[in-house]
Assembly symmetry: C2
Homo-oligomer: 147 residues x 2
Amino acid sequence: MSSSEALVMDAGLARTLPLAVMRLRRRLLNERHPDNDLSLGAMAVAAALEHHGDMALGALAQRERVRPPSMTRTVNCLEEGGYVVRRPGETDRRQVIVSLTDKGRETLRVDRARRTEWLAQRLGQLDEADRAILSDAIPLLEMLARA
Amino acid sequence: MSSSEALVMDAGLARTLPLAVMRLRRRLLNERHPDNDLSLGAMAVAAALEHHGDMALGALAQRERVRPPSMTRTVNCLEEGGYVVRRPGETDRRQVIVSLTDKGRETLRVDRARRTEWLAQRLGQLDEADRAILSDAIPLLEMLARA
DNA sequence: TATTGTTATACTCTATAACTATA
DNA sequence: TATAGTTATAGAGTATAACAATA
């Protein structure tokens, strides 16, 4: 492929990817289960804590690509529900270290099952090749999100 | 792959895809160019009109996966800027048919170039195989959004 | 009556600016 | 001074409920 052909292809991708991402996000939000305790944003934070262990609030904000005041708000919600606890950083007491509680871990497990039920069913209807494409695409989407 | 293995894989996909979509959307929103006339939501509507021709407001709402009042609001913004015009449906005068104006078409062209600049550059740094994965993934994302 | 779209209203998420506590 | 996080406040986007016009 010539460099100018690559540019055209990138232009097509760059035009369609944001719209696809926006539409799919709205679809996923609509599929929210009414019994869920956690919003999708809160679930992302809980999942990050489950995966990476305790994290400073600023690190969570960077990872989720929101500003610190937005993450303060999300962590407030999680803390009020007893899903996380805050403690000051050991070496730097300005930091706020966020930890997932046992209740948070269990709620994450239950809510995640509810929330992904619809999507898992749809994915199950795809053939193996299409699932493989999506599996390969996710790290690329995450990489673009981090770029 | 056994059916239970497929279920596990789907569970992994179903867990990671929503978070990746959410993070990438936030990244894309942050990349907004200050000179853009159109929000990303408004651009999606203008792009749908460019691609499909005139559409009823309800059809636009369905396509973008928002409720009619939300689409009314987006179309109001587009109309106030002179980017679209409304007219009553010919066979059913309850409908509101939305048309892209010449100004809308030109603004879409310019804003799209601005907005996709960052993404196109990132995509250009991927190798051809990764771009192909993303190209293949987009129709799947759209399909999931429509499901 | 049923449907298409609008108006009124409220909620969620996010940001910027100003502030507090610590480094 | 500079940095990590919080508080105060505002804006964007979305939804539900009630309404108007048309079928």
